[in-house]
């Protein structure tokens, strides 16, 4: 089996021959200390045509697709894509963990991995007025499936809408036609489903005809930016907020007298280089005392929510990275751990509870904090 050939066929940029086996990928891999997954040896096995040794099928699903390996690879090998390619082979053979299979099925049937009804996608709008994008708007708000269905995340989505509207943004939404972006679908290797999502979603978005899309999730932003080839400006909401601040449109009159720290999402930070805007927004909130953790920006620790891990526990349930992360946040003396991604929200919020830090630390979306200061 020529993995590289297969990867090309499914649209991955994996370049096995460029690899010098330096190990920088595995060294940076957030899960490499806790699972047998070793991306360097997978690349090597694929290169020499001896994949049987390094491969551990179950551990393949441990990859969070944080792409630290891709970002740091000195030779542009794109090591994570060997994992995606291998996952896609497993998908073809139907060898998928049941929870991931269910999520994919949910997306296929209902447009969301949680398997909720398509009609309920806009239930979060209760109490808000969000106009239909199809009627024409300046800015399209794209809500992640989590932002739309997950109860904790919904609060953040609502806050965001309030904030954007307060700033006078002409906001529209696709309504129940909004369907999963497929970022995670592609990363778990279900290329067929991903293609289908693009084929259906791209015309829908283009028909709306807006110049700018704001996403709640960095994951959605990532795939729209890089994999949809849309003719529009795709922004993460923190970017949108930062722009509004700069333009003087976002006036915060209230105060949030809290010590706040911030966790960089991999898809926002490492993969798309958006480090400053979320911080600018947080620092602009009156009363906020902003502190940094040690591992930030390019060195941020992954929350383990990406790459399908929202739907799969991983082979190692002990010592989740999110546990470590919330402890780091607590150690800074912060009262609030600000996030900018619904997956991070889910993983870290859960970790705060498990680690018994609820008294000291709250996980909040940046939009929620801004909304508090309105």
């Amino acid at each position: 089996m020529d993995i590289q050939q297969h990867a090309r066929e499914i649209g991955l940029g994996l370049d096995l021959f460029s690899c010098i086996q330096c190990g920088k990928c595995t060294g940076g891999c957030p899960v490499s200390m806790t699972t047998v997954l070793n991306v360097r040896s997978l690349v090597y096995g694929a290169l020499i045509g001896d994949i049987a040794g390094p491969i551990h099928e179950e551990a393949l699903w441990d990859c969070t697709c944080c792409f630290t390996c891709v970002e740091r690879c000195p030779k542009d090998v794109r090591p994570a894509e060997v994992i995606i390619a291998l996952r896609s082979l497993l998908v073809e053979e139907g060898k998928v963990p049941s929870t991931i299979g269910n999520a994919l099925m949910g997306i296929f049937r209902q447009g969301n991995p949680l398997g909720y009804a398509r009609e309920d996608r806009i239930a979060w709008m209760d109490g808000l007025e969000v106009k239909s994008a199809q009627e024409g708007c300046e800015t399209l708000l794209f809500t992640c499936c989590s932002s739309a269905y997950d109860i904790r995340a919904q609060a953040a989505t609502k806050a965001l809408v309030r904030v954007l509207q307060a700033a006078g943004v002409d906001l529209g939404h696709l309504g129940t036609e909004e369907t999963c972006c497929g970022n995670e679908v592609r990363r778990v290797g279900e290329m067929g489903l991903f293609e289908m999502l693009v084929e259906e979603g791209k015309p829908l978005l283009e028909e709306v005809g807006v110049a700018r899309m704001v996403t709640t999730s960095p994951h959605c932003m990532n795939t729209f930016r890089h994999e949809y080839q849309l003719g529009m400006d795709v922004l993460h909401y923190t970017q949108a907020l930062a722009r509004l601040l700069e333009e003087g449109r976002l006036n915060m009159t209230g105060r949030v007298e809290k010590v706040v720290t911030y966790h960089d999402p991999c898809f926002l930070g490492k993969q798309n280089g958006i480090f400053d805007e979320p911080r600018e927004v947080l620092k602009a909130i009156p009363g906020v005392k902003f502190v940094e953790m040690d591992r930030i920006r390019d060195r941020s620790l992954c929350c383990e929510g990406g790459g399908g891990r929202m739907w799969f526990e991983g082979t190692n349930t002990e010592g989740r990275l999110a546990f470590q992360r919330v402890q780091e946040a607590a150690d800074t003396g912060a009262e609030i751990l600000a996030v900018a991604c619904p997956f991070c929200m889910a993983m870290l919020d859960d970790a705060v509870k498990v680690k018994g830090l609820s008294e000291r630390l709250r996980v909040m979306d940046i939009a929620e904090l801004v909304a508090m200061a309105l």
Partner: protein, 565 residues
């Protein structure tokens, strides 16, 4: 003249000062007989340090200078020059080595300081007995001898000839171009050698200042920098040897390739599938890569064959094999697009300009690099099996191959040893010729006027060889262009009244400076040849030979100071 001595104690940063109490040594030195001034300074060899000596020499009228610092090997010329500028005869300068012989070897501050004082005392006592000596110059024969007609020799010859000096280029074989002429294409540009080497050879052959001696070797060299006399003997008998006079010599005798039969585990010479990089080069030139009439499907390169191998006495890296393998692997990929090409390596050393990029290109061309030092090769049917631990898999693998290429290392040429013996040139532990200083004098040798170019000094690729050859040319051009060379002033002299003519000095001298006068049966030293090493003076039982600057009274004064301490 009554000694007026200045003593200068160097801290050498912290090299000396960390262990030796330099202030105490300075105070002590100031009390010694004849000492007019004693100072200490961070780096005596620096410009301000030297300025101290000059200034004192002028204003205090010093006629002797003692510097307590490092070994005189490096800095004696520095302090002689500085003192000379201050009006002190350079041979009335004495150094006390309080670094290598004191601070670096004695951890105890108190003891080290005491020893430094003793060494300074001894140097002062010797300095008081030093006599002024005059440096002289000898004329230089305009012209150079270049031994070896490979790329290094060609380039060195051209630069010297272009600068207007006659060059005698001696080559053992019947053609110019050396090892490079055996290559097909060169890395990292894959440029055919034929596109530039013949032009270079032609330039040399047609140069009016260059005389080429093919099929010849240098059988004898006498003389010294500026005035060498060499005998060039044709290898074929019957032709008359040529006697040539030159001012400088460039040695460019090149290298040999390792004979892989010394690593019998690879089966070289047994299996037709196993060839060396040099042999593959010829096959690539001819375009025939078949083995036993079949086109190979699996090609394996094995690196470090005869390099980085202490067991074989070749601990060094041959520096070019990584790039040669990368080049040949690419060329094999081009020639045999269906073949799988695998390179087994320990470390990939592609360090030169465009080297890493070239390695990148090789991998992108589909060459598989696997980390592991191949352990053995054996036959399996029509193929051979390469057995190796893939250290990245941490597993032993058997890799079947139709063609195995051994990247053979470089080793010193036996002929270089002959030249070394003729000129009494030292060789380094690896057997290559030894440069005068590994960092700052990489092409000079222990023998003045003799310079090294190319792989006779150590393995190197073509750009580095050419640079080094030009460097050797620059070193050779300095005496040639100046027209004179300085002569050692601290030479040995014979007292004919005492000399019994035993000839021990003649035997012991590494420079053939003394000779027995056939009429009187006494020894006479040729001052031009004498390097002042003193071997003759210590050998002579009659003390009939005196080495100026190291006379018995000078040495005894020093010894007396030390044992009297």
């Amino acid at each position: 003249m009554k000694p007026r001595i200045g003593v200068y104690i160097c801290h050498c940063g912290t090299n000396v000062a960390a262990t030796v109490d330099v202030e105490a040594v300075t105070e002590f030195a100031a009390t010694l007989p004849g000492v007019v001034i004693a100072r200490h300074y961070t780096y005596m060899c620096s410009e301000p340090g030297q300025a101290l000596i000059k200034e004192d020499a002028r204003t205090l009228g010093l006629n002797r200078v003692v510097v307590a610092s490092c070994s005189p090997r490096m800095h004696e010329p520095t302090f002689r020059a500085a003192s000379h500028e201050g009006g002190v005869n350079p041979y009335q300068v004495e150094m006390a080595n309080i670094r290598e012989q004191c601070s670096w070897v004695h951890p105890d501050r108190h003891e080290a300081t005491d020893k430094a004082k003793a060494l300074v005392y001894a140097a002062v006592m010797k300095a008081a007995h030093l006599e002024p000596l005059e440096e002289r110059e000898a004329p230089v024969t305009p012209g150079a001898l270049v031994i070896g007609g490979g790329v290094a020799g060609l380039v060195a010859a051209l630069d010297i000839a272009d600068a207007g000096f006659p060059v005698h280029l001696v080559e053992r074989s019947d053609r110019l171009g050396g090892r490079v002429a055996e290559l097909n294409r060169t890395f990292p540009d894959l440029e055919p050698v034929a596109e530039w080497l013949p032009a270079l050879v032609d330039q040399v052959r047609r140069h009016p200042n260059i005389t080429v001696y093919l099929n010849s070797r240098v059988t004898d060299i006498t003389g010294f920098v500026g005035n060498f006399e060499a005998r060039v003997g044709p290898i074929e008998a019957g032709l008359a040897p040529a006697q040539i006079q030159v001012g400088a010599i460039v040695i460019a005798t090149g290298y040999n390739v390792f004979d892989p039969r010394l690593k019998p585990e690879f089966g070289y010479g047994i299996y037709p599938q196993v060839v060396t990089t040099l042999e593959l080069e010829q096959r690539l030139s001819s375009g025939d890569l078949t083995v036993n009439g079949k086109t190979p499907k699996e090609v394996v390169f094995i690196k470090c064959v005869g390099s980085r191998d202490q067991q074989l006495g070749r601990p060094y890296c041959s520096r070019v094999c990584c790039m040669i393998s990368a080049k040949q692997a690419q060329l094999v990929r081009q020639a045999l697009p269906d073949a799988r090409v695998t390179v087994f390596y320990m470390d990939v050393r592609t360090f030169g300009k465009r080297g890493e990029e070239f390695y990148d290109e090789a991998r992108r061309a589909g060459v598989r690099y696997r980390r592991g030092n191949v352990s053995e090769i054996y036959r399996r049917g029509e193929r051979v099996v390469v057995r190796v631990e893939d250290t990245l898999l941490a597993r032993t693998v058997e890799h079947e191959a139709d063609l195995v290429v051994l990247a053979v290392g470089m080793e010193p040429r036996p002929e270089a040893a002959d030249i070394a013996a003729l000129l009494k040139l030292p060789r380094s532990a690896d057997g290559f010729l030894l440069e005068a200083h590994p960092k700052l004098r990489p092409v000079d040798t222990a023998v003045d006027g003799v310079f090294l170019a190319g792989c006779c000094q150590g393995p190197k690729d073509i750009p580095d060889t050419v640079a080094q050859a030009k460097a050797a040319a620059a070193s050779a051009l300095i005496p040639l262009m100046r027209g004179v060379v300085p002569m050692e002033a601290a030479t040995a002299v014979v007292d004919p009244e005492l000399c019994a003519g035993c000839g021990m000095c003649v035997e012991i001298c590494p420079y053939s400076a003394p000779a027995l006068d056939p009429l009187w049966g006494v020894s006479r030293v040729n001052a031009v040849l004498c390097k002042g090493c003193g071997a003759c003076a210590v050998t002579c039982p009659s003390k009939a030979i005196r080495l100026q600057h190291f006379t018995p009274d000078q040495i005894l004064a020093q010894v007396e100071a030390l044992v009297g301490w």
